[in-house]
Every structure is written in C-alpha cells, then in structure tokens.
Subunit: 233 residues, 2 copies
C-alpha cells in the first residue's frame, strides 16, 4: 500500500512550496523584516501550519539558505562545464559569483546573512546543521577541484592548500561586496529599493572613485597571482 509514501511525498512537496513562497518574500524584504504570518498568507496557510513543517523561523531561514547555496553551486558548475582551458575556468568562478550577485541580489543577501546566535534559545536540529555544512562543503569543493586541476597542469603552486585558496577567494569576495553594501547603506539609508550592480557602481565611484567590478576583479587577481606558478604582472 503506497499511501504512506504518497503522504510522505506530499509532505515534502508542501515543505518545498513553503520554502519557495518564503524565498520569494525574503528576497524582497530580507529575513528580519519578513514575518511568519506573511509567509503563511502567501502560501494560503495559517501561521500554525508553517510550524508543522519548520520548528521555528531560524530553521526556515536555514532551509532557505541551503536551497540558495545549492542553486548557486549549480550555476557555478553549469558555467564551468562550458569552458575548456584552466585559465577560463579559474576566472569563471569569480564571474559566476558576480553574476549571481547581479541576477539574484535577494538570494545573494540570503547567502551572506549571518544569523546572530541566541545562546538561550534551543538550537536547530543536528540534521539541518549537517545539511548546511555538507552544502557549503560541496560549494567549496567545486572551487577546490578547479585549483587542483591547475596544480595537476603545473600552473598552480603545489605548496598551498587548494581548499584554502577556495575559501580565501570566497571570503574576500564576500567581504568586498559586504563593504560595498555598507557604503551604499551608509550613503542612502532606507531610501533604496533593491540591491543592484549599477547602484553599487555609482556609490563605489562616488565615494571611492573606483569601479566596483574592477575592484572585485583586482582582488581576485591578487589572490590568483599569488597562487599561480608564473604570476601575470
């Protein structure tokens, strides 16, 4: 009798529906401003029902984060598949990141959202934690593989850890974009509609006299240069 299985599938489906609906709102309003009530309304359920599928708001947010990370990894992998030379592939990682930031600014913000810890509150399920760790590990792994590829080709110094480079690139990109968000929000607190690269560029130029994308590319170049056997000065 497949009823139990169908029930299970339906339950998973509902969960996905809620996640999708929540993502839609959160990408517009941000995690903090979005209320559980709003999410419930948008998928035509009551607030209580949401809590049948997610223990609390934090778990819901975490689940969305996992979804977004998976999505980004997919994009990055898709872009990598199209390319043949190692140089292109190394460059492609940064480009994917920038592309994601441009095309999905809301999701990007989710990706970089760092939840504040409340020591008193009971923490989210171990399972979800493991999922998140696994998902981000997979993401870094993709970068790691490209670096490793470069090592095999003798193009990248073998005395460094490929994962370390992956994380460095990732970290510095995040940091750079965050600093830009900071500058933008300092400059235009509460007035803007949504994050986009043109706006970012404008502020970047206005306040620091330089192009944002160019800065990001230069930073990547800096990291890349230091890992290549023959740096391209």
């Amino acid at each position: 009798m497949g009823t139990a299985e169908r029930k299970q599938r339906e339950k998973e489906l509902r969960k996905k529906q809620i996640l999708k609906a929540a993502e839609k709102i959160i990408t517009r309003k941000g995690m903090l401003s979005t209320t559980m009530e709003e999410i419930a309304e948008s998928c035509e359920l009551s607030k209580g029902t949401i809590y049948l599928y997610f223990k609390n708001k934090e778990e819901l947010n975490l689940s969305i984060l996992i979804m977004v990370l998976e999505n980004f990894t997919r994009i990055m992998e898709k872009n990598l598949k199209k390319l043949n030379t190692f140089e292109e592939r190394l460059r492609s990682i940064g480009e994917s990141y920038l592309e994601f930031y441009k095309n999905y600014p809301g999701d990007f913000k989710i990706m970089n959202h760092n939840p504040e810890q409340h020591p008193e509150i009971e923490h989210s399920s171990r399972e979800l934690e493991r999922d998140l760790l696994a998902t981000s590990s997979k993401l870094w792994g993709v970068v790691e593989n490209v670096i490793r590829e470069g090592m095999d080709l003798g193009l990248i110094r073998k005395d460094i850890d490929p994962l370390e480079i992956g994380i460095s690139l990732w970290a510095s990109s995040n940091g750079m974009i965050q600093i830009m968000e900071h500058i933008r929000s300092d400059a235009q607190r509460g007035v803007h509609e949504k994050s986009n690269i043109e706006e970012m560029d404008e502020y970047s130029r206005r306040f620091m006299g330089m192009d944002f994308e160019q800065m990001l590319r230069n930073l990547w170049a800096a990291v890349n240069n230091s890992i290549l056997v023959k740096p391209a000065y």
Copy 2:
C-alpha cells in the same frame, strides 16, 4: 552665564554613558538580543529616557559602531607608531586586525554587524550617516597612507590605487573571519559562549584541516604579494 554650556556638556556625557553601558551589554549578548530595557536598567535610567538621547535602537547601534571603529583605528595607529620599517608597518595592519579580533571579540562583532534595511522605517539622521562614513573613511585612510608610503619608497607598484588595496585587505579579512564564524556557528549552533581565537582555530582545524591565523596571514600575503614590486615568494 555658562549654564547652557554645562547643560550641553552634561547631555553629551549622558549620551556617552548610555553608549558605554550599551556597548558593555552588546559585546556580551549581541545587538539583536540586547533589549532597550536592559540598556536602560544598566545605566539606571528608564527606557523612555534612552529615547530622549537616541531616536531608536538602530541609531543607538550605529553610534556604538562609530565608537568601536574609532577605537579600532586608534589601536591600529598606536601599533603603527611603534614601528619604523615599511615592511613592519604593512604587516602591522593585519596584526592589529587580528589583535582586535582576539582581544575584543564583542566589539569585533559589532564592527562587522550589517544592519538589515527596513525601507518603511524612517532612516537615521543624515548627521549620523556622515559620521559613520567619515569614521570608516578615516580607518581606510590609515591603511591607504601605509601603502602610499611603500609607493614613495619604491616598494609598491604605483599602478594600483592605495585606497583600493586598503579596502581589499579590510574586505578580505572581514570575509575570512565571517566565514569562520559561519563554520563555527554551523558546527556548534547556540552552544558556545563567546567568540575567541582558540575556539575558532579548533573548528578551523577540525573542519578544514588548517590553522585559522595561518589562513588569514596567507590571504594577506596574497594581497600584499600582488602589490609589492618584488613579490616575496
């Protein structure tokens, strides 16, 4: 008659007292978990009074952020003054950052706290915005000056923008530490007491098999190498 002036001074003093008290709590509990009531209690005032000195919680948080940034800039400048050679001074910037992270983990968290924007809510005062921008500009400026010094000595390539390097270093360091916080909080959601370098290192080694400080230093080296005239491989 100096009464008005004294009143003014007293008002400023109160504001500082509130800020100090708030900082003390926030460094322990974080910005989100700290309530206005708690802050009020800790400086023996009522909640309403706090709102006479700060328009809302966001403005209070922003004022604290400015205070923390000023403090960090002071530390960085103090460390720079002690050193004579350019190489030491360049290195010192990164070390100051790490030192601040180790010694004032709560303040460090404030420094990296990115407030979510609520478009509906009226934004904070223009004056405060300008203060924040001026303060962070001053911070980057310190880095910029060291880079410029290196250029004058012919040790740093002149075809790059010193401010850009300053921001890059700052951004990548922030990003790196944030990613570590992420990993740590993924691994140990809600269980830890407070941020400290030993704990960070433990997680860094456990999950990525590498030392956190070493990673940070390597990242700085990467950026530095790409700006030096003769990279030190």
